[in-house]
Symmetry: C2
Subunit: 126 residues, 2 copies
DNA sequence: CTTAAACATGACGTTAACGTAACGTTTTAG
DNA sequence: CTAAAACGTTACGTTAACGTCATGTTTAAG
């Protein structure tokens, strides 16, 4: 509906608390937006997507500090070639880190499976 | 060499600090072992494997409390059928949780890849 | 216009997983 | 035997990511 929303609506639609939003603002994770002299903050729709991306990165195990180091890469639209290259290299680092995590988890999965098989065997033997 | 080691050696061989070991002891994650009246603690080789397993579970994102809830499953040798079944069901829960994590990470990976491809395209266009 | 709901700001509280300092024994190298 | 290294115990400190007041202002409903 409206172009701009206040913090309460943003929190509700993004599924976070007011405190979280203010926390992220202080960490520079989320841009603010004051309006007129009233003191209240108004946010654009884009803030929702940003909060959701932050949550996604968090669930992947990144700390807020790490998130703040890369969050802009997902929303910025760098025009200079050098900026593009930089973004690309960081994204590639992320990719390989992700691959490592997946590998570790996969190994853990197979360990688990082995354990389960062993117990199953035992159960049938006894 | 020796059957029993003191805390310093255990820490060194397991790659953790003394503080960590004591912390885990208080949480019940690692069994103690006093000896004679001298007050010092002596640990068996098995403690190393236990610390390593704890570390592995931690790296998978489990909290110490969660770890303490399952760590025994990896070392106990339940003799009763009912115990075996219980262990099995918990291990299976772990397996499905692990699968979920892998799925989430895989999706993230493909998102990342898409991002990278888009940037690559851009770079070639410009 | 009045009052409750929403918002702003500041500050103290909380949990997890140890770090680090302080201080007194025990073990060990020389 | 003596000094240094290792150990035990207690207790306060630290970081992350917010939660939870407390208090004052702004907005919105009736």
């Amino acid at each position: 509906m409206s172009e701009w929303m206040r913090i309460g609506e943003l929190a509700g639609r993004a599924g976070v608390t007011l405190r979280t939003i203010r926390h992220y603002e202080r960490l520079g994770l989320l841009p603010k937006g004051e309006r007129e002299g009233n003191g209240q903050h108004y946010y654009p729709e884009a803030s929702i997507a940003r909060l959701e991306k932050i949550d996604q990165l968090k669930r992947l195990g990144l700390t807020l500090e790490e998130v703040s180091g890369v969050i802009d890469l997902y929303f910025s639209d760098p025009s200079r070639r050098s900026a593009k290259r930089k973004v690309l290299s960081i994204l590639r680092q992320h990719l390989s880190q992700t691959d490592e995590k997946i590998t570790a988890l996969t190994k853990f999965r197979s360990d688990l499976q082995a354990h389960i098989d062993r117990f199953d065997q035992w159960l049938n033997d006894s």
